[in-house]
Structures are given as structure tokens and as C-alpha cells.
């Protein structure tokens, strides 16, 4: 059937894999956005910049401390998460009583500051970051070639997503007895930001590390969030992976629309189900 359509299975499965990889990043980022929104009622526009910071943290750790990918996978989210905690204490905590829009505007401003600063020092061309030696090479699956690193990204981000879902949606944790609420808010922001940074580290070997790697991605992730609705954590994960796959398939069947397909899906969802696929209320 594929031959009839003039599409080789290699191309199809290759694009499907790329779709799954992109979907991993969409899922991780929209998950972080949903976690932050659920607790702080703020849409974190800085999320893309923090994803970029994660990738740069990995790059710096390698260049200046000699710490490789596996260290970066642990340290970069922690470091960027700490900057998130500082941002929350310095800026965001003053906005909770105001209209949501101010949170959006402030985090947009922070994103400009971070991206602008990195652009000044690193220009707009990307810096290389190599795949860790344990994950070089790939598997021949018969119908396609699977690079080990890409398989790892899909599996690992799925594990991270499901763990987050398990921890957050478990009712015992929501029981607020003895929980210091302001500190909980700060830590939630730090955690959401750490998720973005983790995605950044994983993205570093696939895409090169560049200052504007986050700003275009975040807009797509916003569309993903509109499609899924931010009401449910699982919704964010499923929508993220699903849209990645849809985007990958579009690259095979109708490449002209591959950049725009997610936005078109968003428009259709808004027409049919304005609250989003998993949204409860608007």
C-alpha cells in the first residue's frame, strides 16, 4: 500500500521516529507548563529560554568542568531549576494577586533578556554537542535504522513524563496537611523549569545548542497546550507525543504543511472542542 502511494517505508518510519522525538520535547515542555500553571496560575513564557538554558548548561559543563552528558542530565536541570527558584522569589511571587496576563508579560520579558544575552555572546549559529559514547551507533530493525540515542530520548522522556504524572496525580500528595504552601509554589516552579532544562539537555546532541532554539519551539508548545488543555497532566503527555507523530507523518505525505500542521490541528480543535481535548473548563 505504501508503495502505491510512492512512499518508501524507510522514509515513513524515519519521519515517524523524528515525530516521536519532537513529540518527546513537546510532551516534556507542555508537561512543565501544565505543572507550573496548575500551581501558580501563570503561563511561563520563559519556558523556551529555560529549555535553551538546559542545553547551554550541558555545553558549559562539558567545556569548562569536563562533565559529560550523564552528569549534565542530572546537574543541568538542578542548576536551571535553581535559577527558576530565584526568578520565582524575585519576580513571580509579586504577581499572584494580579491578572494572569501580567505573569505572561513578565515571563515574556525574562525570555527576551535571557535569549538576548545568549545571542550577544554566542551569535545565532549553533554549537555542537556530541552524542554520549555509550549511545552512539544504532540498531537495524529490518524496516528501518534506529539510532540508539534517538531511541533513548523517546524512552527516557516517556519515563520522566509518566513518573511526573504518577507523583502529581497521586491523591496522597495533594493532601495539604503540613505542606508549606508558598514554598511548595516556589519548588513547583523550580520543578517545571527543571523539566524544561532536562528537555534541553536531551535536545543538545540532536539539534545543535543555539540561543534561539527555545523561542520557536515554545510557540508550538503553546499550541500543543491549547489542543490538550492544561487541566490534566496525562493530557499534556498524550497530546505532546500525538502531535509530534502527526507532524512527522505530515512531513512524509504533505511536506509543505509540516511547519503549520500543529497550528491547523489547533484551529480544528478550537472549532470542535473549544475547551481542548482533555480540558474540563475554559
Amino acid at each position: 500500500m505504501l508503495e502505491l502511494l510512492g512512499i518508501s517505508p524507510q522514509a515513513l518510519f524515519g519521519q515517524l521516529l523524528i515525530g516521536l522525538i519532537n513529540g518527546s520535547f513537546y510532551a516534556l515542555l507542555s508537561l512543565g507548563l501544565a505543572v507550573i500553571f496548575g500551581m501558580l496560575n501563570i503561563i511561563n513564557f520563559t519556558h523556551g529560554a529555560q529549555y535553551m538554558l538546559g542545553a547551554f548548561a550541558a555545553y558549559f559543563l562539558l567545556q569548562y568542568a569536563g562533565l559529560g552528558y550523564w552528569w549534565a542530565l542530572v546537574l543541568a536541570p538542578v542548576l536551571v531549576g535553581i535559577t527558576g527558584v530565584i526568578i520565582e522569589r524575585l519576580f513571580l511571587q509579586w504577581l499572584y494577586k494580579l491578572d494572569h496576563l501580567y505573569g505572561l508579560l513578565l515571563t515574556f520579558g525574562l525570555a527576551l533578556i535571557i535569549e538576548g544575552t545568549f545571542r550577544n555572546f554566542f551569535g545565532s549559529s549553533g554549537l555542537p554537542y556530541s552524542v554520549p559514547s555509550q549511545l552512539t551507533g544504532g540498531q537495524n530493525l529490518g524496516f528501518m535504522f534506529l539510532p540508539n540515542y534517538r531511541g533513548w530520548v523517546v524512552v527516557f522522556s516517556l519515563v520522566v513524563c509518566l513518573t511526573t504524572w504518577f507523583v502529581i496525580e497521586r491523591p496522597t500528595l495533594v493532601r495539604a496537611f503540613g505542606i508549606n504552601v508558598p514554598r511548595m509554589i516556589t519548588l513547583t516552579y523550580g520543578f517545571g523549569v527543571a523539566l524544561a532544562a532536562l528537555a534541553g539537555v536531551m535536545a543538545a546532541p540532536i539539534y545543535s545548542v543555539s540561543p534561539q532554539m527555545g523561542s520557536n519551539l515554545i510557540i508550538v508548545v503553546f499550541a500543543v497546550v491549547v489542543i490538550g488543555g492544561m487541566g490534566s497532566i496525562m493530557g499534556a503527555i498524550v497530546t505532546g507525543f500525538g502531535l509530534g507523530v502527526i507532524e512527522g507523518l505530515t512531513k512524509v505525505f504533505f511536506p509543505e504543511a509540516s511547519n503549520t500542521v500543529i497550528f491547523i490541528v489547533m484551529a480544528i480543535v478550537l472549532l470542535i472542542r473549544p475547551a481542548g481535548l482533555f480540558g474540563r473548563t475554559t
Partner: protein, 346 residues
């Protein structure tokens, strides 16, 4: 409720301070080109109109659009194309014998400037109707995200569409003769400047009229408390949609005019940083104030001109800092604070 509001409302339609401020602004702008560079002033005026259009939506309707570059940029493309080429080619898909694009060509000769601007404006209004109808289905931050996403989609269309010439943009757009009489390509730029000024002041007054009309009052009611406006029997979605289309239309006038002024339509004007910039201008000047967007646009354009020659690379960072400062300590904006200090309406 409406009847009560009518009885209690002061009978004046115009606040005196606003009339005086408008007269001062108009007088300054008429003299300005003899003291400052007309090109700089025209740029600031186009952005001032763009910011006023944006403010109509956020300041009076409480709707934050993060995709207004869509209307500004596409109106600019449409006006530039109509003025330079004229002929419109519309793609349509043909399924047989295989999926491919065909072109429906409407032969038009290059249009005079007034029709080019009108064409750009109408195009922006149509886009505003489509985007608005989708975006008003969600509220608050979702509204912002939807407009941003749809604007990004249209940005990709602008990258791919043949008539926009991708990275090059539509260059050397002729300014032409206004109504066949006034040569807009004069060497001193005064004719072009006065045209831009008339467009700006005309649209400013129209926006003022809209804000102070019964429609504007309902819009403000929706901004303050939408569930209450609904319970009073207003179809708030319709009001929001009309406000969105009006805002897109005025943004279109600004973009179309800018294309003729700079004789260029490029990707910069449809890209998301432009949407951010118009938010910044309005925020700096003062959300929901009449003159705030104008002051904000002049402030931001002057600042960028000043910085461009000195620390060009850091413009993005400076913009970000202003955003943060405005949100944390200057939420009323320059004009909002001024009005509060002088206890007048501006």
C-alpha cells in the same frame, strides 16, 4: 441596568483634558517634520497607530493578543503587492491526476496608494474575522496563546508564499501619486508625512469615537466582568469579535501605510518579536489610556533608534528589562501615571 447607567453617567461625551491633549498632539505632529527626521516620525506614527489598534483590544476589551504582527505584517504585504504588482494569484488544490496546486489569477494593474492601503486594510479585516472567531472561543491566557500560535502559522505561510519573496521581502514598493494628484515620492518626504499624519489622526479619532460609543461601554463592561455582562443579556462573544476585527483593521491600516513609507514589506513585520514589540509599546505608555500607546510607540521607537547605533546587539535585552520593570513597578504606564498625578483623564 443599562438605563440606570445612562441616567447616572455624566452627560459629557468628551473629557476636556483629552480634547486639549489631542489638540497639542496634533499641533506638535504638524510642526515636527520641520524639526525631526520625517522618516523617523513616520515610523513612530505607524507604530503609534498599530499600538492604538492593539490597545483597543487589550485596554478596553481586556483581550491580550500576542499575534498582532499577523495583521500588521500581512496588511503590509498586501499593500506592497497591490502597489507594486497588482495581479492577485490565488492557489487552489487540484486532486486529479495527482494532488497539486493550481493558480487562479485575477489580473489587476498596480494600484494607486490609496487603494493599496485600502486593500491591505480589508485583507487585515478578513484575517481578523477568521483569527478572532477562533481565538474568542477561549479566554485569558489561552486567548494569548491561540493568537500567538495562529500568527506563527501565518508567519510560516509568509515564508513559503511565492509573492512575499521570502527573506528578501517585497522591495522597492512604489509610493505612487495619492488620488492621482499628490506625488508621495517627493524628495523632502513632506507629502508622504502629511498623508501618514492624516491617516494617523483620522484613525485615532475613530478609535476615540469607538471607545466612547455605547459599544465601547459594553466592551469595558466585558473587560471588568464578563459573566456579569452575559447575565445582563449581552452576547459578549459578538462584542469581542467586533472589537477584534476593528483592532485587526486598524493594525492593518498601520501595516499597509508602513509598507508605502519604507517601500518594503518583510518578514520582520509578521514575526513574533513584532507582536511582542506592540505589547511593549502599549504597556510602557499605559494599557487602557487613550494617549498611552502613542507615547509608548514614540518612546520605544526612539529608544531603539538611539540604541541601534550604540549597543545594537542588546536591544532585545533592553526590551526585556522594560517589560519586567513595567510589570513590577509601572503597571499604569507613563501616561497612566501622568494622568494619575495630574488627576485628569488621558
Amino acid at each position: 441596568m443599562q438605563r440606570v447607567a445612562e441616567q447616572n453617567a455624566p452627560p459629557r461625551l468628551h473629557s476636556q483634558s483629552e480634547m486639549v491633549a489631542f489638540a497639542v498632539m496634533a499641533a506638535v505632529l504638524v510642526i515636527a517634520p520641520f524639526v525631526a527626521y520625517p522618516m523617523f516620525l513616520m515610523k513612530a506614527l505607524c507604530f503609534a497607530l498599530f499600538a492604538c489598534a492593539f490597545n483597543l483590544l487589550i485596554g478596553y476589551g481586556g483581550l491580550l493578543s500576542f499575534g498582532h504582527a499577523l495583521f500588521f505584517g500581512w496588511a503590509s504585504y498586501a499593500a506592497a503587492h497591490l502597489s507594486k504588482v497588482g495581479a492577485i494569484s490565488l492557489p487552489y488544490p487540484a486532486l486529479l491526476p495527482k494532488l497539486s496546486w493550481h493558480w487562479l489569477v485575477i489580473p489587476l494593474s498596480p494600484l494607486p496608494p490609496e487603494l493599496a492601503i485600502l486593500g491591505g486594510t480589508v485583507f487585515a479585516a478578513i484575517l481578523g474575522l477568521i483569527v478572532g472567531a477562533l481565538a474568542i472561543r477561549r479566554q485569558g491566557i489561552y486567548f494569548a496563546m491561540i493568537t500567538l500560535a495562529l500568527a506563527q502559522m501565518m508567519f510560516f505561510f509568509a515564508v513559503q508564499a511565492p509573492f512575499t519573496h521570502g527573506e528578501d521581502g517585497i522591495q522597492a514598493v512604489p509610493r505612487g501619486r495619492l488620488f492621482g494628484l499628490v506625488d508621495l515620492a517627493d524628495s523632502t518626504n513632506i507629502n508622504m508625512y502629511m498623508t501618514v499624519l492624516v491617516i494617523f489622526l483620522g484613525c485615532f479619532l475613530l478609535i476615540y469615537r469607538i471607545i466612547n460609543s455605547p459599544f465601547g461601554e459594553v466592551l469595558k463592561a466585558i473587560r471588568e466582568n464578563e459573566p456579569r455582562a452575559i447575565s445582563l443579556g449581552y452576547k459578549t462573544d459578538r462584542y469581542k469579535l467586533v472589537a477584534f476585527v476593528l483592532s485587526a483593521t486598524f493594525a492593518g491600516v498601520a501595516g499597509a501605510t508602513k509598507a508605502l513609507v519604507f517601500q518594503l514589506a518583510s518578514l520582520t513585520d509578521v514575526d513574533w518579536p513584532m507582536s511582542g514589540e506592540v505589547v511593549l509599546m502599549t504597556l510602557v505608555g499605559g494599557l487602557g489610556t487613550l494617549f498611552g500607546p502613542v507615547a509608548g510607540a514614540f518612546f520605544v521607537v526612539s529608544l531603539e533608534n538611539y540604541l541601534a547605533t550604540r549597543i545594537g546587539q542588546w536591544v532585545l535585552v533592553v526590551q526585556g528589562l522594560i517589560f519586567v520593570l513595567c510589570v513590577l513597578v509601572l503597571r499604569r504606564g507613563i501616561i497612566g501615571e501622568l494622568a494619575r498625578l495630574l488627576r485628569i483623564k488621558l
